[in-house]
């Protein structure tokens, strides 16, 4: 074991590939374990000369490759069959053949990335990617035209003099000792490097944005939007008055529409009669329409307790004596014509809907002023004791 704690190892340079293979063989034979060879290009036969075992990186790749396969198949299954099932091209939800290309890609991608990241993490000892051999004359030579070997001081057999002797005997041209750096440093956290990374990110993002949105920008195909058609609320050149929305032709009535004869009168001289009977179906229908159009101001039970919370003046309750004495035709008149602050609901509702709403209002009014006989009717109908 070596006594100088700061010594990293002894390096030696050779001139040819044959010499370095010979040297590696001899060093391995001499019993050294912690040594490495650096050559400008991969020298065939080096693994065997150094007595290296096969790398286990392949298992990394295998594991992560299959993880990719499993992940993407489950993901495709979940998205396409569970979370958002969609029929595409008349195929089943889990259409395996169409998932195979992306499965293949993900397998290769994850396997590849895991391999590279694994190698980087293991070999560089991240986050410290510093190495005592960095920026030495030795490293400059072996990345140019020399073949180098380094025997590390960590080796249990290491002895500086013996190692130097051995390397000399093998015909090394230059022998150096390499020291460990004084203190551990993290070059990847250095300001310059971080700024460089940020610059790379900015340039790549900006370049991508500029290329895709400016240089290579193509108008989307909007042929279906740009056809000759009338668009509500928009100008149109089809008609001479340039109006997209048309008014009815004078003297005609739209299908299924009956004009209300007493429109505009505050107190109508005559009113219509309710054509609908208060059947269960009509009441259900009227309830739906009442809740949609009337309840925002009048409240769900027509008490005049609106959900508007003072943004709009509350209407009076419909359970007052006055309202209960209104005829059906009068309420119809108010819906069509509006009253005080209540606007006309003529365009929102059809006449059938209005009559149904009126029937429902009648049901509400009766429920609020129920007589004991009504309760008996309900009990008879439901077969339960209602209090």
């Amino acid at each position: 074991m070596n006594e100088n704690k700061n010594l990293y190892g002894v390096t030696a340079l050779f001139d040819s590939a044959n010499e370095i293979i010979h040297a590696a063989k001899e060093v391995e034979k001499a019993g050294y374990k912690n040594f490495d060879v650096n050559t400008p290009y991969p020298v065939h036969g080096m693994d065997r000369a150094m007595g290296l075992k096969r790398s286990t990186v392949g298992f990394f790749t295998l594991f992560f490759g299959f993880s990719g396969t499993a992940f993407i198949l489950l993901f495709a299954y979940w998205t396409m069959s569970v979370n958002y099932p969609m029929v595409i091209g008349g195929k089943p939800f889990f259409a395996l053949p169409s998932f195979i290309p992306v499965t293949f890609e993900t397998t290769v991608l994850l396997g590849g990335i895991a391999t590279v990241v694994g190698i980087l993490a293991v070999f560089f000892n991240l986050p410290s990617n510093n190495h005592p051999l960095h920026d030495t004359d030795y490293m400059c030579s072996v990345s140019n035209d020399k073949y180098g070997i380094v025997i590390e001081a960590e080796d249990p057999k290491f002895n500086e003099n013996e190692v130097t002797e051995l390397l000399k005997r093998l015909g090394a041209k230059k022998i150096h000792t390499v020291m460990n750096p004084g203190k551990e440093s993290f070059p990847i956290f250095e300001g310059r490097f971080v700024v460089f990374l940020i610059l790379v990110v900015l340039v790549v993002c900006g370049g991508t944005y500029f290329t895709l949105n400016k240089v290579l920008y193509l108008e989307p195909f909007d042929w279906m939007l740009e056809q000759d058609k009338l668009i509500p609320q928009e100008k149109s050149t089809i008609f001479t008055d340039n109006k997209g929305m048309r008014t009815t032709i004078e003297g005609t009535v739209a299908r299924g529409y009956l004009p209300y004869p007493f429109k505009g009168q505050t107190i109508p001289t005559e009113t219509l009669a309710n054509p609908l009977l208060p059947t269960k179906k009509v009441l259900e229908f009227g309830k739906g329409k009442f809740l949609t159009f009337c309840s925002p101001c009048h409240g769900n039970y027509a008490d005049g307790d609106s959900r508007l919370h003072g943004q709009f003046p509350n209407p009076p309750t419909l359970h007052s004596a006055r309202a209960r004495e209104f005829g059906d035709g009068m309420i119809y008149h108010i819906i069509v014509n509006g009253q005080n602050t209540m606007p006309s609901y003529e365009t929102q509702t059809t006449s059938e809907e209005r009559w149904a709403i009126i029937n429902y209002i009648r049901a509400l009014q009766r429920a609020k002023n129920a007589k004991p006989t009504d309760l008996q009717e309900v009990q008879k109908e439901l077969g339960v004791n209602v209090k």
Binding site: H44, G45, M46, D47, R48, L52, R54, G58, L62, G89, G90, K91, P97, S98, I100, P101
Partner: protein
């Protein structure tokens, strides 16, 4: 010459190889002929499968030889002769095609003029799919292959005595001409002999599909023979794990390549779901053919993929031999799957004839190989790349 360095001493293959080959071939010939008189149509189809196996291993091997020259590869030089010997069936193809050409009527629907007359699709294809043009194509293509086989192997063998380096250069040029020609001729051959069995069907990737299986089987035949010969000491003993590993890697690569191509063909047809294309796969999914299709996916892709994935599998001689035999059998199954559903459209029908012809073809390949091995060196001793090929190491 270089015999000393390569450690190669020419030895005759054992005599019983010739016997085995002769017996197999005779069995195939006699039973096949008998079968033809019992069931002429079935025998024609069965023989077509075996014939296509002979074609695919022959031209696949010639492709490997040409590829070695063109790519300047040296690792495969020590056993290039094996591929050359395997491709020496090419000049005989025209003879073995004769029984099929005489039975075109039972094989190819498009030869029936009365059927073509009432079929608009076949009428449109008639300028290509007609008997005379078919025979012209067969003669021209088999002739071209024979020519290139003759030139490439003559140059290679001439080097054994002269060691002339110019012959290598000449073969490189020849290979450069052969490989594009091979791409076209192999496609045409696969379309003519296999795809036109169902003349209404078409697939533009079919030639590549045939090519992938062909080279796959040729590599398996090469690997099997190299491992056997090396173990028995007929090849240089310096052929090592790295050579085996490279052969295994190529087989693995072509396993994936076949899977890629077969899936591409299937997926596009499945996705478009056009009746004029998809019926071909539907035929292979009814009446028992679906089991063949499933077995093909497993045996042609998934099992070899797993079996060839690891390093030991690619270097262990026993495993290599096993997987090579597996690949050869599966390639035969692949050709069977391409051919037979066109005869038994409604479902699989068993026939003893399907086992007769492969035995005959196997005997033929053994016989041809043995004759070549008797006449020529098993190692190209005069090849300038041989030394580098023997020194080959991977890491």
């Amino acid at each position: 010459m270089l015999n000393k360095e390569s450690g190669y001493v020419k030895k005759e293959l054992p005599g019983n190889i010739a016997k085995i080959g002769t017996v197999f071939f005779a069995v195939g010939l006699i039973l096949g002929t008998a079968g033809y008189f019992i069931e002429p149509v079935r025998a024609s189809f069965s023989y077509l499968v075996a014939f296509m196996f002979l074609v695919s291993v022959g031209i696949g091997s010639l492709f490997l030889v040409a590829l070695e020259y063109l790519a300047g590869a040296d690792w495969s030089t020590p056993f290039r002769r094996v591929s050359e010997f395997l491709s020496s069936s090419i000049p005989l193809l025209i003879i073995f095609a004769l029984p099929l050409i005489f039975n075109m009527n039972s094989l190819f629907h498009w030869t029936h003029t009365e059927a073509v007359a009432e079929d608009a699709v076949l009428q449109g294809k008639a300028p290509y799919l007609n008997s005379s043009f078919f025979i012209i194509r067969v003669v021209v293509i088999f002739g071209l292959w024979s020519l290139f086989y003759y030139l490439l192997s003559k140059n290679s063998r001439g080097q054994d005595s002269t060691g002339d380096q110019r012959l290598t250069k000449r073969n490189i040029v020849l290979s450069g001409i052969f490989i594009p020609l091979f791409a076209i001729t192999a496609t045409v051959t696969s379309v003519d002999w296999l795809m036109s069995l169902e003349p209404h069907w078409f697939s533009t990737i079919f030639g590549v599909y045939f090519f992938s299986g062909s080279v796959w089987a040729s590599l398996a035949a090469l690997t099997l023979i190299v491992v056997l010969l090396k173990e028995k000491g007929y090849l240089s003993q310096r052929i090592n794990n790295d050579h085996y590993y490279s052969l295994g890697t190529l087989m693995f690569a072509f396993t994936c390549f076949w899977g890629y191509i077969a899936f591409s063909q299937y997926m596009l047809i499945w996705y478009a779901d056009l009746p004029e294309e998809s019926f071909w796969f539907l035929q292979r999914w009814t009446g028992g053919w679906e089991y063949f299709s499933i077995v093909l996916i497993l045996a042609h892709f998934i099992i070899p993929f797993g079996a060839l994935l690891s390093y030991p599998a690619k270097t262990n001689p026993r495993r290599l031999k096993f997987i090579s035999v597996w690949i050869l059998c599966t390639h035969y199954l692949d050709l069977y799957w391409l051919t037979m559903p066109n005869l038994n459209v409604s479902g699989f029908v068993f026939s003893w004839l399907d086992f007769v012809f492969p035995i005959g073809i196997l005997g033929l390949i053994i016989l041809i190989f043995n004759i070549n091995a008797k006449k020529y060196n098993l190692i190209p001793v005069g090849d300038p790349k041989l030394q580098r090929g023997l020194d080959f190491t991977l890491h």
